[in-house]
């Protein structure tokens, strides 16, 4: 059985609600958080796929990626940003992100990436 549990971290409420709904109707069980701190507090041993916005209040998506990589968690991390550039993309890839997506993300592209992650996790 493929683990279809996803974590979504986005501070923008409308984006968070919309993304959650998209993943939901595609058969994923999504737990959404508005900040990286809330995610770290509530999820002790994260596993599966984490979709995080880069520009988060407090701990940023990139910092979360580094923290999780340092803790050697078994997670695939997909980053999204509304202000992405080549430097940020390179940084994200070097830090171990699966992908850095520039908002607005095409829903098909997002699902494709998530399918890949879930398949890899399985």
């Amino acid at each position: 059985m493929v683990d279809r549990v996803l974590y979504l971290i986005d501070d923008d409420e409308s984006a968070r609600v919309a993304t959650t709904l998209l993943l939901d109707v595609n058969g994923y069980s999504v737990t959404a958080f508005e900040s990286a701190e809330a995610f770290l507090q509530n999820v002790n041993t994260p596993r599966g796929t984490v979709i995080a916005d880069v520009q988060l209040p407090g701990i940023s998506g990139l910092q979360l990626l580094r923290k999780l990589t340092a803790r050697e968690c078994a997670v695939s991390i997909v980053l999204m940003s509304a202000q992405a550039d080549d430097a940020l993309a390179a940084e994200a890839m070097n830090a171990g992100a699966v992908s850095l997506l520039l908002k607005p993300v095409h829903p098909g592209r997002l699902m494709e990436i998530i399918e890949q992650c879930v398949g890899r996790d399985a």
Partner: protein, 490 residues
């Protein structure tokens, strides 16, 4: 011919009884004295030419013939010589010649009886004394004293000589007449001189007044010119200031662009997600209609919100000139909060807006007032960069008090040092590394142009509170402005 005309105009000048404009005290006195001399000399000439033959015919004392001839000669001199010398002295502007002539003329007939013998030894002393005093007094121009002295000398001579009434008395009478005439003329002269002084004083005052009036007229002209220039430069300044306001707004907008792009990408992202949802739902054999409706409502909300943001941005950037109209302060605050949303969200700042009912309206330019609020909110966000994350708050309070709308903008930022407070509203004063120092000075000017005030209420380390006060237009929404600021929602 020229000399004749000159003499003729001189005659007219002399005959003027009062001062003429341009008279100096000296010229007036000389004219009066000459006129008096001429009148007197005419009178004296008639009397002396009559007294001379009388003395020759009826005075039987030794020297009587000589006395008569002397008097006759004096009469001729009075008739011919005196007017000529008087006019000549006036032409030469030598008034002392007139004095000298008067003295000599007076000495002649007075000294004749003494020199020719009719007056006895005892009397001579007094006569000569009187003449000496009167001559002295003439030179000092005090005619009254002069004639008093002469009269006293004659009376003393009469008493001492014990002259009986007879031909001598008639002679003395003839001699006394010009003296009395002279005395009367002198009194008139004194009165005229006093009058002249008064007139001259009045003339001086009039001239002073005229000068003052002239200066005032010049001053008024100058001020009017200045006023006109000032109005022109004020107009130019106003134009420049409007341009500056616009530029400063565009500059703020430029700084906010990155945030704005982020702010538009977020709703676009949400819309993209919803598009995916709709696509997925549409692929299901039994689409969940309730879910579809919910999604479409959310899409509508997002589109509405983004449209509002774009509208605020557009109006914030486009307006170049001031447009005064009734403005809802509530809308101004709402738009300013919307415009600065990327910044306060990035800084994790909580914004709280408290307002009293009813909604307050002011007369003003909505975009310019927004600019003030945007400046204050952005400053507050920047001031809270170093504050603890859970203590980054902006409190906007709106209330109506004493006919004024009061907007308090309070933050929990780093506040201002005492030195900074003193220069806060000065142009080019800034506490930011990359600041221009225009924001607060422009904001204060905008508020003052709206007949309001902008001040720092508190600014210590616990945060800063700015207060904007604007004259309230009318509590509640007046019917007359439905077509104004609400046109967008219509």
């Amino acid at each position: 011919m020229g000399r004749l005309r000159r003499l003729f105009s001189l005659q007219r000048f002399i005959e003027r009884p009062h001062f003429v404009p341009g008279d100096t005290c000296e010229s007036f006195l000389a004219r009066i004295r000459i006129r008096k001399l001429l009148q007197y000399s005419r009178l004296a000439a008639v009397i002396l030419m009559f007294a001379g033959p009388v003395a020759i015919l009826f005075y039987e004392q030794p020297g009587g013939t000589w006395l008569g001839l002397t008097l006759l000669a004096c009469g001729v001199v009075a008739l011919l010589l005196i007017p000529l010398v008087a006019r000549w002295s006036l032409l030469q502007q030598r008034s002392e010649w007139v004095s000298l002539l008067m003295t000599l003329y007076f000495l002649g007939p007075c000294a004749a009886p003494v020199l020719c013998g009719p007056i006895q030894d005892q009397g001579r002393t007094f006569v000569i004394l009187g003449l000496a005093v009167s001559t002295y007094c003439l030179s000092r121009q005090s005619f009254l004293v002069n004639y008093a002295c002469v009269a006293a000398a004659w009376i003393a001579t009469w008493i001492l000589n014990g002259v009986p009434f007879g031909t001598d008395d008639i002679l003395y009478f003839f001699l006394a007449v010009p003296v009395v005439g002279y005395l009367i003329c002198s009194l008139q002269t004194d009165a005229l001189v006093s009058l002249f002084d008064l007139h001259r004083l009045a003339l001086d005052q009039q001239q002073t007044l005229e000068r003052t009036l002239e200066q005032l007229t010049l001053e008024i002209d100058r001020r009017q010119d200045e006023e006109r220039l000032r109005a022109e430069s004020h107009e130019q300044l106003q134009e420049q200031q409007q341009k500056l306001l616009h530029v400063s707004r565009l500059s703020a907008l430029g700084e906010m662009t990155a945030g704005v792009a982020h702010e538009i990408r977020q709703p676009l992202h949400a819309l993209s997600m919803y598009a995916g949802v709709l696509s997925t739902l549409a692929g299901e054999p039994q689409p969940d209609l309730a879910k579809l409706r919910s999604v479409s409502e959310k899409v509508g909300e997002i589109v509405q919100h983004t449209g509002e943001l774009l509208r605020s941005l557009q109006s914030f950037a486009s307006r170049g000139s001031q447009q005064m109209s009734p403005v809802s302060i509530e809308e101004v605050i709402r738009d300013a909060v919307l415009l600065t949303e990327p910044e306060w969200r990035r800084q994790r700042v909580q914004i709280r807006i408290d307002q009293e009912e009813p909604v307050a309206f002011v007369r003003g330019d909505d975009v310019q007032l927004q600019q003030v609020l945007v400046n204050l909110l952005r400053n507050s966000c920047e001031a809270m960069g170093t504050s603890p994350v859970d203590d980054r708050q902006i409190h906007v309070q709106l209330r109506v008090q004493n006919g004024h709308v009061e907007i308090h903008v309070a933050d929990t930022g780093c506040g201002f040092a005492a030195e900074e407070k003193a220069h806060l509203f000065e142009t080019f004063f800034t506490t930011k590394e990359d600041g221009l120092g225009m924001g607060l000075s422009i904001s204060r000017r905008i508020v003052e142009e709206h007949c309001g005030t902008l001040e720092l209420v508190t600014g210590d380390q616990t945060g800063a509170t700015f207060l904007i006060r604007l004259p309230v237009l009318e509590p509640g929404r007046p019917d007359t402005i439905h077509g104004g600021s609400s046109s967008l929602s219509d």
